[in-house]
Amino acid sequence: MQYVIIGGGIAGTMAAEELRKAEATAEITIVDEEAHACYSRVLLPHYINGKVPREKVFLRAEKWYAEQRIERLAGTIVTSIDTKNNFVTIHSGRELPYDKLLLATGGQLNLAQTDPKGVCYLQTLDDADGIVARLAEVKRRPVEQQQAVIIGGGFICLEFINIFALHSLPTTVVVRGDGFWSRLLSSRAKTVLAKQAASKGVTILTGQAEALPVGEAEVNGVQLADGTVLPATMVGVGLGTHADKSLFVEAGVDIKSGILANSYLETNLPNVYTAGDAAEFSHPLLGRQMHIGNWLNAQMQGKAVAKTMVGERTEFSLVSSYSTNLLGMHIVFIGDTNPEFAEVRSHKATETSCVDVYVRNDKIVGAVLIGDLVDRANITKAIQEQRSTL
């Protein structure tokens, strides 16, 4: 049996590991755009902030792949997928035949309109290295040149806020919508977060249709639609990700915001599977196609899809959550938190905390907890048990 996995992140790596456990003699190949062995993206902020040394972000040693007899093609781009004749072509021209193919390609970063030196993203270890280097450079400058701007208002934005705060860089956040996670959160939740940011000296500019990093040799500011330029020597960009559609559309793989799959992570094509941030899969408990970008989801999908690929069909029904914080204020997202598909009910609200529950067809499908996590376990259970009340 020949397995080819596109993507060497946690979903692809977990899948490879499970495939090896199940089939001692199978040929397993991971095609990985990354030069590095599998590492934890979630540890990157800890690395940037000096909490863990760089070598500690790795989850697998180089030798692990050899020990497991998993071929990892590092720094390798897939140029086409032939799903009729079952082979993948990589940029060197080499063709990799497969019996079963896993698409675990994660998400492609949405970029800023321009990105001169000093404009940083936070998706890969190389990005993190770039941030570490830039921070050191900026900190050597006169204080009035140590200014940061963040473009975007989601998870990565919060990571940048926390990083810049730790390095005492005055920070302005520029968002298109009306606050943090403008398309997911209730106005109550947004207000609590905006107050927290303001109380720590972080300014948020909402409703900004444009945020253009400017500067020749390096960034020196971010220009807004009205022409205002916010001075900045460090710009963090967190505008989310999108699916790299061209490769998959040509291959005949159905795709919407992610690669479409059923609850077994099987795509519309035989012997083609998906997992992790790339997958938009039918969630049996949440009752709709979900496109989830968190660590636990990716990791457990990698494990589950491998079972299905070896013939032990495994439905994926995990209700995953993600946790972050805004300058010390805890924030947890559980399940489906998209108000387009659910009614948002306030469960608790104070000046400094907020718990919203997302309800669909009289069932709790998700929740956002800010500054008060007491109900976390209870809400998670309610979603798993498809209850209508807490």
Binding site: R41, L43, R60, Q299, M300, V319, T324, H330, V332, V374
Partner: protein, 88 residues
């Protein structure tokens, strides 16, 4: 067999993946950090470290819970003090 399970609260970011995978062994505290519990019980009060008597199956679940931690905040030792996870 006995396992010693240690959570580093400084690395824990409260993702709670360990609680999702191994709820009998981990729970979140008020600081949004994972604590170690013994078969669902926090005997002797909350703790970031415990020695547990577990079955082979329970051991697998606990190791999977530790593996699920995206910040590698959980370390597991066997009776002889050998580190079972993380492996590197």
């Amino acid at each position: 067999m006995k396992l010693r399970i240690v959570v580093d609260p400084d690395l824990c970011i409260g993702a709670a993946s360990c609680v999702t995978i191994a709820p009998e062994t981990f729970q979140m505290n008020m600081e949004n950090k994972a604590e170690v519990i013994d078969h669902g019980i926090a005997d002797g009060g909350p703790s970031y470290e415990r020695v547990l008597e577990v079955s082979e199956e329970e051991k697998d679940t606990i190791i999977l819970g530790a593996q699920s931690c995206p910040t590698l905040a959980i370390t597991i030792f066997d009776e002889a003090g050998m580190q079972l996870y993380p492996m590197i």
